[in-house]
Amino acid sequence: MGRTTPIAKSQVRTASVFLTPGLALFFLFVLIPVVAAFYLSFCRYDIIHSPRWIGADNYARIAEDIGNRGVFYLSLRNTAQYAIGTIPIGMALALGLALLLNAGLRGVTLYRTTYYLPVVTSLVAVSLVWMWIYDPNYGLLNYALELLSRGLSFVAGREVLIAPQTWLADPGQAMPAIIAMSIWRGLGYNMVIYLAGLQGIPDHLYEAAIIDGATPWQRFRSITWPLLKPTTAFILVVSVIGASQVFAQVYVMTNGGPNNATTVIVHQIFQNAFSFMKMGYASAMAFVLFGIIFVMSLINLRLLRGGEVEYV
Protein backbone atom coordinates (compact mmCIF):
# COMPACT_ATOMS: atom_id res chain seq x y z
CA MET A 1 0.00 0.00 0.00
CA GLY A 2 1.55 3.24 -1.06
CA ARG A 3 1.51 5.67 1.83
CA THR A 4 2.97 9.11 1.78
CA THR A 5 3.54 11.36 4.75
CA PRO A 6 0.64 13.79 4.14
CA ILE A 7 -1.75 10.86 3.88
CA ALA A 8 -0.38 9.34 7.06
CA LYS A 9 -0.83 12.66 8.82
CA SER A 10 -4.36 13.07 7.57
CA GLN A 11 -5.08 9.51 8.66
CA VAL A 12 -3.99 10.21 12.20
CA ARG A 13 -6.07 13.35 12.26
CA THR A 14 -9.12 11.60 10.85
CA ALA A 15 -8.63 8.70 13.23
CA SER A 16 -8.66 11.02 16.21
CA VAL A 17 -11.80 12.76 14.99
CA PHE A 18 -13.53 9.48 14.19
CA LEU A 19 -12.63 7.80 17.41
CA THR A 20 -13.42 10.66 19.76
CA PRO A 21 -17.23 10.46 20.08
CA GLY A 22 -17.33 6.68 20.24
CA LEU A 23 -14.43 6.37 22.60
CA ALA A 24 -15.63 9.21 24.83
CA LEU A 25 -18.92 7.44 25.44
CA PHE A 26 -17.06 4.21 25.71
CA PHE A 27 -14.62 5.59 28.22
CA LEU A 28 -17.38 6.97 30.42
CA PHE A 29 -19.89 4.16 30.36
CA VAL A 30 -17.78 1.11 29.78
CA LEU A 31 -14.16 1.64 30.69
CA ILE A 32 -14.62 3.56 33.95
CA PRO A 33 -17.16 1.03 35.29
CA VAL A 34 -14.88 -1.84 34.26
CA VAL A 35 -11.93 -0.26 36.06
CA ALA A 36 -14.17 0.36 39.06
CA ALA A 37 -15.24 -3.28 39.03
CA PHE A 38 -11.61 -4.35 38.80
CA TYR A 39 -10.81 -2.26 41.85
CA LEU A 40 -13.80 -3.75 43.67
CA SER A 41 -12.56 -7.25 42.96
CA PHE A 42 -9.85 -6.53 45.53
CA CYS A 43 -12.35 -5.27 48.07
CA ARG A 44 -15.05 -6.38 50.39
CA TYR A 45 -18.03 -4.38 49.15
CA ASP A 46 -21.61 -4.93 50.27
CA ILE A 47 -22.88 -1.99 48.17
CA ILE A 48 -24.12 -0.09 51.21
CA HIS A 49 -20.86 0.50 53.03
CA SER A 50 -17.73 1.83 51.35
CA PRO A 51 -15.53 -0.82 49.76
CA ARG A 52 -12.72 -2.09 51.97
CA TRP A 53 -9.42 -3.23 50.43
CA ILE A 54 -8.69 -6.87 51.17
CA GLY A 55 -6.00 -7.61 48.59
CA ALA A 56 -6.33 -10.76 46.57
CA ASP A 57 -8.58 -12.53 49.07
CA ASN A 58 -11.47 -12.80 46.65
CA TYR A 59 -9.25 -14.43 44.05
CA ALA A 60 -7.83 -16.76 46.68
CA ARG A 61 -11.37 -17.80 47.55
CA ILE A 62 -12.10 -18.55 43.93
CA ALA A 63 -8.96 -20.66 43.68
CA GLU A 64 -9.99 -22.49 46.83
CA ASP A 65 -13.49 -23.08 45.45
CA ILE A 66 -12.06 -24.50 42.24
CA GLY A 67 -9.68 -26.68 44.26
CA ASN A 68 -12.59 -28.03 46.34
CA ARG A 69 -14.76 -28.49 43.27
CA GLY A 70 -17.19 -26.05 44.80
CA VAL A 71 -20.06 -24.13 43.20
CA PHE A 72 -17.90 -21.82 41.13
CA TYR A 73 -16.04 -24.81 39.75
CA LEU A 74 -19.40 -26.35 38.81
CA SER A 75 -20.47 -23.14 37.14
CA LEU A 76 -17.25 -23.13 35.09
CA ARG A 77 -17.87 -26.72 34.07
CA ASN A 78 -21.49 -26.05 33.15
CA THR A 79 -20.58 -22.95 31.19
CA ALA A 80 -18.02 -24.95 29.23
CA GLN A 81 -20.67 -27.61 28.55
CA TYR A 82 -23.03 -24.96 27.36
CA ALA A 83 -20.42 -23.40 25.07
CA ILE A 84 -19.39 -26.75 23.59
CA GLY A 85 -23.01 -27.73 23.18
CA THR A 86 -24.17 -24.56 21.48
CA ILE A 87 -21.31 -23.06 19.47
CA PRO A 88 -20.19 -25.71 16.94
CA ILE A 89 -23.68 -26.92 16.12
CA GLY A 90 -25.09 -23.43 16.14
CA MET A 91 -22.42 -22.06 13.81
CA ALA A 92 -22.57 -24.99 11.41
CA LEU A 93 -26.35 -24.72 11.17
CA ALA A 94 -26.16 -20.98 10.69
CA LEU A 95 -23.61 -21.25 7.91
CA GLY A 96 -25.57 -23.98 6.15
CA LEU A 97 -28.73 -21.97 6.46
CA ALA A 98 -27.08 -18.81 5.17
CA LEU A 99 -25.73 -20.69 2.14
CA LEU A 100 -29.18 -22.12 1.44
CA LEU A 101 -30.84 -18.77 1.77
CA ASN A 102 -28.20 -17.16 -0.39
CA ALA A 103 -28.96 -19.51 -3.26
CA GLY A 104 -31.54 -17.19 -4.75
CA LEU A 105 -34.58 -19.36 -4.11
CA ARG A 106 -38.11 -18.01 -4.26
CA GLY A 107 -39.71 -17.23 -0.95
CA VAL A 108 -36.38 -16.50 0.67
CA THR A 109 -37.75 -13.50 2.53
CA LEU A 110 -40.29 -15.67 4.26
CA TYR A 111 -37.68 -18.21 5.31
CA ARG A 112 -35.26 -15.59 6.53
CA THR A 113 -37.93 -13.94 8.59
CA THR A 114 -39.07 -17.23 10.04
CA TYR A 115 -35.58 -18.22 11.08
CA TYR A 116 -34.96 -14.80 12.56
CA LEU A 117 -38.23 -14.78 14.49
CA PRO A 118 -36.79 -16.32 17.68
CA VAL A 119 -34.14 -13.59 17.85
CA VAL A 120 -36.63 -10.74 17.88
CA THR A 121 -38.70 -12.12 20.69
CA SER A 122 -37.55 -11.30 24.18
CA LEU A 123 -35.46 -13.99 25.79
CA VAL A 124 -37.64 -14.00 28.86
CA ALA A 125 -40.78 -14.65 26.81
CA VAL A 126 -39.23 -17.44 24.77
CA SER A 127 -37.78 -19.00 27.92
CA LEU A 128 -41.28 -19.12 29.38
CA VAL A 129 -42.66 -20.74 26.25
CA TRP A 130 -39.89 -23.34 26.29
CA MET A 131 -40.54 -24.08 29.94
CA TRP A 132 -43.96 -24.99 28.78
CA ILE A 133 -42.62 -27.18 25.99
CA TYR A 134 -40.47 -28.99 28.54
CA ASP A 135 -43.16 -29.17 31.21
CA PRO A 136 -43.39 -32.74 32.58
CA ASN A 137 -47.17 -32.60 32.88
CA TYR A 138 -48.47 -30.38 30.12
CA GLY A 139 -45.44 -30.14 27.90
CA LEU A 140 -45.57 -30.35 24.16
CA LEU A 141 -42.45 -32.49 24.14
CA ASN A 142 -43.91 -35.14 26.40
CA TYR A 143 -47.03 -35.06 24.29
CA ALA A 144 -44.85 -35.75 21.25
CA LEU A 145 -43.32 -38.70 23.14
CA GLU A 146 -46.78 -39.99 23.90
CA LEU A 147 -47.77 -39.77 20.25
CA LEU A 148 -44.56 -41.54 19.33
CA SER A 149 -45.26 -44.21 21.88
CA ARG A 150 -48.76 -44.70 20.48
CA GLY A 151 -47.46 -44.87 16.96
CA LEU A 152 -44.85 -47.44 17.88
CA SER A 153 -47.44 -49.49 19.76
CA PHE A 154 -49.62 -49.47 16.68
CA VAL A 155 -46.79 -50.59 14.44
CA ALA A 156 -45.45 -53.19 16.85
CA GLY A 157 -48.88 -54.53 17.71
CA ARG A 158 -48.16 -54.38 21.45
CA GLU A 159 -47.82 -51.60 23.99
CA VAL A 160 -44.56 -49.71 23.70
CA LEU A 161 -44.30 -47.30 26.62
CA ILE A 162 -42.02 -44.32 26.35
CA ALA A 163 -41.98 -42.74 29.78
CA PRO A 164 -42.59 -39.01 29.87
CA GLN A 165 -39.41 -37.16 30.81
CA THR A 166 -38.98 -34.43 33.36
CA TRP A 167 -36.55 -32.41 31.19
CA LEU A 168 -35.66 -29.27 33.12
CA ALA A 169 -36.27 -31.03 36.42
CA ASP A 170 -33.79 -33.79 35.64
CA PRO A 171 -30.12 -33.09 36.44
CA GLY A 172 -29.04 -35.04 33.37
CA GLN A 173 -31.46 -33.46 30.92
CA ALA A 174 -31.63 -29.87 32.09
CA MET A 175 -28.46 -28.61 30.41
CA PRO A 176 -29.12 -30.34 27.08
CA ALA A 177 -32.63 -28.89 27.20
CA ILE A 178 -31.28 -25.38 27.72
CA ILE A 179 -28.70 -25.95 24.97
CA ALA A 180 -31.37 -27.04 22.50
CA MET A 181 -33.47 -24.01 23.27
CA SER A 182 -30.45 -21.71 22.95
CA ILE A 183 -29.45 -23.11 19.56
CA TRP A 184 -33.00 -22.54 18.38
CA ARG A 185 -32.94 -19.02 19.67
CA GLY A 186 -29.48 -18.04 18.35
CA LEU A 187 -29.66 -19.60 14.89
CA GLY A 188 -31.17 -16.60 13.13
CA TYR A 189 -28.64 -14.27 14.68
CA ASN A 190 -25.55 -15.99 13.28
CA MET A 191 -27.41 -16.66 10.06
CA VAL A 192 -27.85 -12.93 9.51
CA ILE A 193 -24.16 -12.23 10.12
CA TYR A 194 -23.18 -14.96 7.68
CA LEU A 195 -25.65 -13.61 5.13
CA ALA A 196 -24.11 -10.17 5.45
CA GLY A 197 -20.66 -11.73 5.07
CA LEU A 198 -21.74 -13.64 1.96
CA GLN A 199 -22.84 -10.40 0.32
CA GLY A 200 -19.23 -9.26 0.47
CA ILE A 201 -17.96 -12.06 -1.76
CA PRO A 202 -17.83 -10.83 -5.34
CA ASP A 203 -19.75 -12.90 -7.91
CA HIS A 204 -16.96 -12.78 -10.45
CA LEU A 205 -14.83 -15.08 -8.32
CA TYR A 206 -17.46 -17.80 -8.57
CA GLU A 207 -17.94 -17.17 -12.24
CA ALA A 208 -14.23 -17.56 -12.84
CA ALA A 209 -14.19 -20.76 -10.79
CA ILE A 210 -17.08 -22.20 -12.75
CA ILE A 211 -15.30 -21.47 -15.99
CA ASP A 212 -12.27 -23.28 -14.56
CA GLY A 213 -14.53 -26.28 -13.89
CA ALA A 214 -14.40 -26.20 -10.09
CA THR A 215 -16.95 -28.42 -8.30
CA PRO A 216 -19.33 -26.77 -5.83
CA TRP A 217 -17.33 -28.20 -2.94
CA GLN A 218 -14.11 -26.85 -4.40
CA ARG A 219 -15.73 -23.46 -4.81
CA PHE A 220 -16.82 -23.53 -1.20
CA ARG A 221 -13.36 -24.62 -0.03
CA SER A 222 -11.37 -22.17 -2.08
CA ILE A 223 -13.65 -19.13 -2.27
CA THR A 224 -16.50 -19.04 0.21
CA TRP A 225 -14.77 -20.41 3.29
CA PRO A 226 -11.54 -18.37 3.05
CA LEU A 227 -13.38 -15.15 2.27
CA LEU A 228 -15.82 -15.77 5.11
CA LYS A 229 -12.99 -16.16 7.58
CA PRO A 230 -13.34 -12.68 9.08
CA THR A 231 -17.05 -13.35 9.49
CA THR A 232 -16.40 -16.74 11.03
CA ALA A 233 -13.77 -15.27 13.32
CA PHE A 234 -16.24 -12.65 14.41
CA ILE A 235 -19.06 -15.11 15.01
CA LEU A 236 -16.78 -17.46 16.89
CA VAL A 237 -15.40 -14.75 19.16
CA VAL A 238 -18.82 -13.27 19.78
CA SER A 239 -20.35 -16.71 20.37
CA VAL A 240 -17.68 -17.63 22.89
CA ILE A 241 -18.25 -14.36 24.71
CA GLY A 242 -22.01 -14.83 24.54
CA ALA A 243 -21.89 -18.43 25.71
CA SER A 244 -19.57 -17.55 28.57
CA GLN A 245 -22.05 -14.95 29.69
CA VAL A 246 -25.20 -17.04 29.28
CA PHE A 247 -27.65 -16.10 31.98
CA ALA A 248 -31.23 -15.08 31.22
CA GLN A 249 -32.55 -18.44 30.04
CA VAL A 250 -30.88 -20.20 32.96
CA TYR A 251 -32.29 -17.70 35.40
CA VAL A 252 -35.82 -18.04 34.06
CA MET A 253 -35.91 -21.76 33.30
CA THR A 254 -33.95 -23.51 36.05
CA ASN A 255 -32.31 -20.90 38.27
CA GLY A 256 -29.17 -23.04 38.22
CA GLY A 257 -30.75 -26.31 39.30
CA PRO A 258 -31.50 -29.13 39.58
CA ASN A 259 -28.60 -30.19 41.72
CA ASN A 260 -26.47 -27.36 40.25
CA ALA A 261 -26.66 -28.93 36.81
CA THR A 262 -27.25 -25.60 35.09
CA THR A 263 -25.64 -22.98 37.29
CA VAL A 264 -23.35 -20.91 35.07
CA ILE A 265 -20.71 -18.29 35.78
CA VAL A 266 -22.88 -15.23 35.35
CA HIS A 267 -25.56 -16.86 37.45
CA GLN A 268 -22.99 -17.11 40.24
CA ILE A 269 -21.88 -13.53 39.67
CA PHE A 270 -25.46 -12.35 39.73
CA GLN A 271 -26.31 -14.25 42.89
CA ASN A 272 -23.26 -13.05 44.75
CA ALA A 273 -23.67 -9.45 43.65
CA PHE A 274 -27.37 -8.92 44.16
CA SER A 275 -28.60 -11.56 46.57
CA PHE A 276 -25.58 -12.09 48.79
CA MET A 277 -24.37 -8.50 48.41
CA LYS A 278 -20.83 -9.66 47.79
CA MET A 279 -19.98 -7.28 45.00
CA GLY A 280 -16.24 -7.69 45.50
CA TYR A 281 -16.35 -11.45 45.18
CA ALA A 282 -18.71 -11.20 42.21
CA SER A 283 -16.33 -8.78 40.51
CA ALA A 284 -13.40 -11.13 41.06
CA MET A 285 -15.44 -13.89 39.39
CA ALA A 286 -16.10 -11.56 36.48
CA PHE A 287 -12.38 -10.99 35.99
CA VAL A 288 -11.61 -14.67 36.16
CA LEU A 289 -14.24 -15.08 33.47
CA PHE A 290 -12.62 -12.22 31.56
CA GLY A 291 -9.25 -13.95 31.70
CA ILE A 292 -10.71 -17.16 30.34
CA ILE A 293 -12.60 -15.50 27.49
CA PHE A 294 -9.65 -13.31 26.62
CA VAL A 295 -7.28 -16.23 26.21
CA MET A 296 -9.87 -18.19 24.25
CA SER A 297 -10.57 -15.26 21.96
CA LEU A 298 -6.88 -14.86 21.21
CA ILE A 299 -6.66 -18.56 20.40
CA ASN A 300 -9.76 -18.35 18.20
CA LEU A 301 -8.46 -15.39 16.27
CA ARG A 302 -5.04 -17.02 15.87
CA LEU A 303 -6.67 -20.20 14.58
CA LEU A 304 -8.60 -18.27 11.99
CA ARG A 305 -5.72 -16.07 10.97
CA GLY A 306 -4.41 -16.69 7.50
CA GLY A 307 -4.25 -15.35 4.03
CA GLU A 308 -3.34 -11.79 3.33
CA VAL A 309 -5.99 -10.25 5.59
CA GLU A 310 -5.33 -9.69 9.25
CA TYR A 311 -8.26 -10.13 11.56
CA VAL A 312 -6.95 -8.77 14.80
Partner: protein, 288 residues
Protein backbone atom coordinates in the same frame (compact mmCIF):
# COMPACT_ATOMS: atom_id res chain seq x y z
CA UNK B 1 -24.04 -22.01 -5.72
CA UNK B 2 -26.26 -24.30 -3.71
CA UNK B 3 -28.93 -24.51 -6.32
CA UNK B 4 -26.44 -26.10 -8.63
CA UNK B 5 -25.83 -28.98 -6.22
CA UNK B 6 -29.36 -30.03 -5.39
CA UNK B 7 -32.75 -29.40 -6.87
CA UNK B 8 -34.58 -26.32 -5.56
CA UNK B 9 -37.53 -28.49 -4.57
CA UNK B 10 -35.33 -30.46 -2.18
CA UNK B 11 -33.97 -27.22 -0.74
CA UNK B 12 -37.51 -26.01 -0.23
CA UNK B 13 -38.43 -29.12 1.69
CA UNK B 14 -35.36 -28.80 3.94
CA UNK B 15 -35.97 -25.12 4.56
CA UNK B 16 -39.68 -25.56 5.15
CA UNK B 17 -39.21 -28.36 7.68
CA UNK B 18 -36.61 -26.25 9.47
CA UNK B 19 -38.84 -23.20 9.37
CA UNK B 20 -41.73 -25.16 10.80
CA UNK B 21 -39.59 -26.26 13.73
CA UNK B 22 -38.49 -22.69 14.27
CA UNK B 23 -41.99 -21.31 14.24
CA UNK B 24 -43.69 -23.95 16.36
CA UNK B 25 -43.13 -22.20 19.70
CA UNK B 26 -44.61 -19.04 18.20
CA UNK B 27 -47.69 -20.81 16.98
CA UNK B 28 -48.09 -22.00 20.52
CA UNK B 29 -47.65 -18.47 21.77
CA UNK B 30 -50.28 -17.15 19.39
CA UNK B 31 -52.61 -20.03 20.13
CA UNK B 32 -52.30 -19.36 23.86
CA UNK B 33 -52.88 -15.66 23.38
CA UNK B 34 -56.27 -16.43 21.85
CA UNK B 35 -57.55 -18.92 24.38
CA UNK B 36 -59.77 -18.40 27.37
CA UNK B 37 -57.89 -19.15 30.59
CA UNK B 38 -59.74 -22.43 31.06
CA UNK B 39 -58.37 -23.82 27.80
CA UNK B 40 -54.72 -22.98 28.34
CA UNK B 41 -53.64 -25.97 30.35
CA UNK B 42 -54.88 -29.09 28.71
CA UNK B 43 -53.23 -32.37 28.10
CA UNK B 44 -53.15 -33.35 25.30
CA UNK B 45 -52.45 -29.79 24.19
CA UNK B 46 -55.08 -27.95 22.17
CA UNK B 47 -53.73 -25.96 19.25
CA UNK B 48 -56.91 -24.42 17.91
CA UNK B 49 -58.79 -22.49 20.61
CA UNK B 50 -62.33 -23.71 21.15
CA UNK B 51 -63.36 -20.15 21.78
CA UNK B 52 -61.37 -17.42 20.08
CA UNK B 53 -60.69 -14.76 22.66
CA UNK B 54 -59.62 -11.72 20.66
CA UNK B 55 -60.51 -9.78 23.76
CA UNK B 56 -57.28 -10.98 25.36
CA UNK B 57 -55.44 -8.49 23.19
CA UNK B 58 -57.62 -5.59 24.19
CA UNK B 59 -57.43 -6.57 27.82
CA UNK B 60 -53.65 -6.96 27.70
CA UNK B 61 -53.16 -3.55 26.14
CA UNK B 62 -55.43 -1.93 28.71
CA UNK B 63 -53.66 -3.45 31.70
CA UNK B 64 -51.01 -0.74 31.63
CA UNK B 65 -50.24 2.46 29.67
CA UNK B 66 -48.73 0.50 26.81
CA UNK B 67 -49.09 3.43 24.40
CA UNK B 68 -46.73 5.45 26.54
CA UNK B 69 -44.40 2.48 26.93
CA UNK B 70 -44.40 2.09 23.17
CA UNK B 71 -43.29 5.69 22.64
CA UNK B 72 -40.58 5.31 25.29
CA UNK B 73 -39.31 2.13 23.68
CA UNK B 74 -39.25 3.68 20.21
CA UNK B 75 -37.26 6.65 21.51
CA UNK B 76 -34.88 4.39 23.38
CA UNK B 77 -34.32 1.79 20.67
CA UNK B 78 -34.23 4.43 17.92
CA UNK B 79 -31.67 6.64 19.67
CA UNK B 80 -29.48 3.67 20.59
CA UNK B 81 -29.58 2.36 17.03
CA UNK B 82 -28.74 5.68 15.37
CA UNK B 83 -25.93 6.43 17.75
CA UNK B 84 -24.46 2.94 17.45
CA UNK B 85 -24.56 3.02 13.66
CA UNK B 86 -22.86 6.37 13.55
CA UNK B 87 -20.26 6.09 16.29
CA UNK B 88 -19.43 2.44 15.79
CA UNK B 89 -18.94 2.83 12.06
CA UNK B 90 -16.66 5.82 12.59
CA UNK B 91 -14.58 4.03 15.19
CA UNK B 92 -14.56 0.84 13.15
CA UNK B 93 -13.36 2.71 10.09
CA UNK B 94 -10.46 4.13 12.10
CA UNK B 95 -9.59 0.69 13.43
CA UNK B 96 -9.91 -1.06 10.09
CA UNK B 97 -8.47 1.40 7.65
CA UNK B 98 -6.45 4.15 9.25
CA UNK B 99 -2.85 3.91 10.42
CA UNK B 100 -2.12 5.42 13.80
CA UNK B 101 -0.05 4.57 16.78
CA UNK B 102 -1.64 2.44 19.49
CA UNK B 103 -4.35 1.23 17.16
CA UNK B 104 -4.13 -2.42 18.06
CA UNK B 105 -3.79 -1.80 21.77
CA UNK B 106 -6.84 0.44 21.70
CA UNK B 107 -8.81 -2.10 19.73
CA UNK B 108 -7.95 -4.97 22.05
CA UNK B 109 -9.00 -2.76 24.94
CA UNK B 110 -12.38 -2.12 23.31
CA UNK B 111 -12.78 -5.79 22.57
CA UNK B 112 -11.74 -6.77 26.08
CA UNK B 113 -14.56 -4.81 27.69
CA UNK B 114 -17.06 -7.08 25.92
CA UNK B 115 -15.76 -9.88 28.07
CA UNK B 116 -16.80 -8.29 31.35
CA UNK B 117 -20.39 -9.23 32.16
CA UNK B 118 -22.67 -6.25 32.64
CA UNK B 119 -23.75 -7.54 36.03
CA UNK B 120 -20.63 -6.10 37.67
CA UNK B 121 -20.56 -2.80 35.83
CA UNK B 122 -24.21 -1.94 36.35
CA UNK B 123 -23.70 -0.62 39.84
CA UNK B 124 -20.89 1.82 38.92
CA UNK B 125 -22.86 3.05 35.91
CA UNK B 126 -25.96 3.52 38.04
CA UNK B 127 -24.06 5.50 40.67
CA UNK B 128 -22.49 7.65 37.95
CA UNK B 129 -25.87 8.46 36.37
CA UNK B 130 -27.36 9.25 39.73
CA UNK B 131 -24.57 11.75 40.45
CA UNK B 132 -24.45 13.33 36.98
CA UNK B 133 -23.88 16.99 37.74
CA UNK B 134 -26.41 19.70 36.99
CA UNK B 135 -29.28 17.51 35.81
CA UNK B 136 -32.30 15.99 37.48
CA UNK B 137 -32.04 18.34 40.45
CA UNK B 138 -28.35 17.71 41.03
CA UNK B 139 -25.89 20.47 41.86
CA UNK B 140 -22.46 20.87 40.27
CA UNK B 141 -21.10 18.13 42.53
CA UNK B 142 -23.81 15.73 41.49
CA UNK B 143 -25.69 15.73 44.76
CA UNK B 144 -29.24 16.60 45.69
CA UNK B 145 -31.37 15.04 42.97
CA UNK B 146 -31.79 11.92 40.90
CA UNK B 147 -29.35 12.84 38.13
CA UNK B 148 -30.02 11.00 34.91
CA UNK B 149 -32.13 8.32 36.55
CA UNK B 150 -35.70 8.22 35.24
CA UNK B 151 -34.62 9.99 32.05
CA UNK B 152 -34.09 9.06 28.42
CA UNK B 153 -30.40 10.00 28.41
CA UNK B 154 -29.81 7.76 31.38
CA UNK B 155 -31.37 4.95 29.41
CA UNK B 156 -29.61 5.70 26.13
CA UNK B 157 -26.12 6.92 26.99
CA UNK B 158 -24.73 3.70 28.51
CA UNK B 159 -25.88 1.83 25.41
CA UNK B 160 -24.97 4.55 22.88
CA UNK B 161 -21.86 2.82 21.61
CA UNK B 162 -20.97 -0.85 21.90
CA UNK B 163 -17.82 -2.85 21.45
CA UNK B 164 -19.92 -5.38 19.56
CA UNK B 165 -20.80 -2.87 16.86
CA UNK B 166 -17.24 -1.63 16.49
CA UNK B 167 -16.00 -5.18 16.20
CA UNK B 168 -18.68 -6.24 13.72
CA UNK B 169 -18.14 -3.29 11.40
CA UNK B 170 -14.36 -3.44 11.65
CA UNK B 171 -14.42 -7.08 10.57
CA UNK B 172 -16.61 -6.19 7.65
CA UNK B 173 -14.63 -3.11 6.60
CA UNK B 174 -11.51 -5.24 6.51
CA UNK B 175 -12.98 -7.53 3.92
CA UNK B 176 -13.62 -4.65 1.52
CA UNK B 177 -11.08 -4.40 -1.30
CA UNK B 178 -8.66 -1.53 -0.90
CA UNK B 179 -8.36 -0.63 -4.57
CA UNK B 180 -11.36 1.69 -4.52
CA UNK B 181 -10.20 3.82 -1.64
CA UNK B 182 -6.62 3.89 -2.87
CA UNK B 183 -7.92 5.25 -6.14
CA UNK B 184 -10.03 7.80 -4.27
CA UNK B 185 -7.01 8.87 -2.21
CA UNK B 186 -4.99 9.42 -5.35
CA UNK B 187 -7.89 11.53 -6.63
CA UNK B 188 -7.48 13.65 -3.51
CA UNK B 189 -10.50 12.44 -1.59
CA UNK B 190 -10.27 13.06 2.16
CA UNK B 191 -10.36 10.19 4.66
CA UNK B 192 -13.77 11.32 5.84
CA UNK B 193 -14.91 11.38 2.25
CA UNK B 194 -13.70 7.83 1.74
CA UNK B 195 -15.60 6.76 4.82
CA UNK B 196 -18.79 8.47 3.80
CA UNK B 197 -18.76 7.95 0.03
CA UNK B 198 -17.06 4.62 -0.38
CA UNK B 199 -16.97 2.54 2.77
CA UNK B 200 -20.49 3.20 4.08
CA UNK B 201 -22.30 2.58 0.79
CA UNK B 202 -20.35 -0.63 0.35
CA UNK B 203 -21.22 -1.72 3.87
CA UNK B 204 -24.98 -1.64 3.70
CA UNK B 205 -25.39 -5.32 4.59
CA UNK B 206 -23.17 -4.92 7.63
CA UNK B 207 -24.84 -1.67 8.66
CA UNK B 208 -28.25 -3.25 8.22
CA UNK B 209 -27.09 -6.17 10.37
CA UNK B 210 -25.83 -3.92 13.11
CA UNK B 211 -28.91 -1.73 12.91
CA UNK B 212 -31.24 -4.70 13.19
CA UNK B 213 -29.26 -6.26 16.01
CA UNK B 214 -28.98 -3.04 17.98
CA UNK B 215 -32.63 -2.21 17.56
CA UNK B 216 -33.68 -5.73 18.51
CA UNK B 217 -31.41 -5.81 21.53
CA UNK B 218 -32.56 -2.41 22.76
CA UNK B 219 -36.20 -3.26 22.12
CA UNK B 220 -35.90 -6.40 24.15
CA UNK B 221 -33.59 -5.02 26.82
CA UNK B 222 -35.19 -5.59 30.14
CA UNK B 223 -32.86 -5.25 33.08
CA UNK B 224 -31.38 -1.82 32.44
CA UNK B 225 -34.71 -0.02 31.84
CA UNK B 226 -36.12 -1.81 34.86
CA UNK B 227 -33.26 -0.66 37.05
CA UNK B 228 -33.08 2.99 36.12
CA UNK B 229 -36.78 3.76 35.66
CA UNK B 230 -38.92 4.11 38.74
CA UNK B 231 -41.74 6.05 37.14
CA UNK B 232 -44.61 4.57 35.19
CA UNK B 233 -44.36 7.26 32.55
CA UNK B 234 -40.78 6.26 31.73
CA UNK B 235 -41.10 2.50 31.40
CA UNK B 236 -40.43 0.45 28.30
CA UNK B 237 -42.59 -2.30 26.80
CA UNK B 238 -40.55 -5.20 28.13
CA UNK B 239 -40.72 -3.80 31.64
CA UNK B 240 -44.42 -3.20 31.14
CA UNK B 241 -45.02 -6.87 30.32
CA UNK B 242 -44.01 -7.60 33.90
CA UNK B 243 -47.52 -6.84 35.06
CA UNK B 244 -48.75 -10.17 33.71
CA UNK B 245 -46.20 -12.22 35.49
CA UNK B 246 -46.13 -12.38 39.23
CA UNK B 247 -44.90 -15.06 41.50
CA UNK B 248 -48.17 -16.83 42.09
CA UNK B 249 -50.24 -16.09 39.07
CA UNK B 250 -49.05 -15.67 35.53
CA UNK B 251 -51.78 -14.52 33.20
CA UNK B 252 -50.52 -16.63 30.33
CA UNK B 253 -53.17 -15.51 27.89
CA UNK B 254 -52.48 -11.82 28.45
CA UNK B 255 -48.71 -12.26 28.69
CA UNK B 256 -48.64 -14.08 25.37
CA UNK B 257 -50.96 -11.55 23.75
CA UNK B 258 -48.73 -8.75 25.01
CA UNK B 259 -45.59 -10.53 23.80
CA UNK B 260 -47.05 -11.07 20.34
CA UNK B 261 -47.96 -7.39 20.04
CA UNK B 262 -44.58 -6.23 21.33
CA UNK B 263 -42.74 -8.48 18.89
CA UNK B 264 -44.44 -7.14 15.76
CA UNK B 265 -42.57 -3.80 15.51
CA UNK B 266 -39.16 -5.51 15.69
CA UNK B 267 -40.27 -7.94 13.04
CA UNK B 268 -41.21 -5.03 10.81
CA UNK B 269 -37.77 -3.49 11.33
CA UNK B 270 -36.23 -6.81 10.34
CA UNK B 271 -38.39 -7.00 7.22
CA UNK B 272 -37.35 -3.49 6.29
CA UNK B 273 -33.66 -4.13 6.86
CA UNK B 274 -33.35 -7.58 5.41
CA UNK B 275 -33.46 -6.53 1.77
CA UNK B 276 -29.79 -5.68 2.22
CA UNK B 277 -29.05 -9.36 2.62
CA UNK B 278 -30.23 -10.00 -0.89
CA UNK B 279 -27.56 -10.85 -3.40
CA UNK B 280 -26.78 -8.17 -5.88
CA UNK B 281 -27.03 -5.11 -3.73
CA UNK B 282 -23.65 -4.75 -2.15
CA UNK B 283 -20.25 -5.39 -3.64
CA UNK B 284 -21.39 -7.88 -6.17
CA UNK B 285 -23.75 -5.37 -7.63
CA UNK B 286 -21.00 -2.87 -8.16
CA UNK B 287 -18.32 -5.14 -9.39
CA UNK B 288 -20.20 -8.02 -10.91
Amino acid sequence: MMRRIVKPSVLHVVLAVGAFTMILPFLWMISTSLKPESEIFRFPPVWIPGEWRWDNYREAMQAAPFGRYFINTIIYAGAVTVSNLLFCSMAAYAFARLQFRGRNVLFVLVLGTMMIPAQVTMVPVFIMLRHWPLVGGNDILGAGGHGLLNSYPGLVLPMAVGAFGIFLLRQFFMTLPRELEDAARIDGCSEAGIYWRIILPLSKPALATLGIFTFTAAWNEFLWPLLIMSKDSMKTLQVGLQVFQTQYTTSWDLLMAGTVVVTIPVLLIFLAGQRYFTRGIALSGMKG
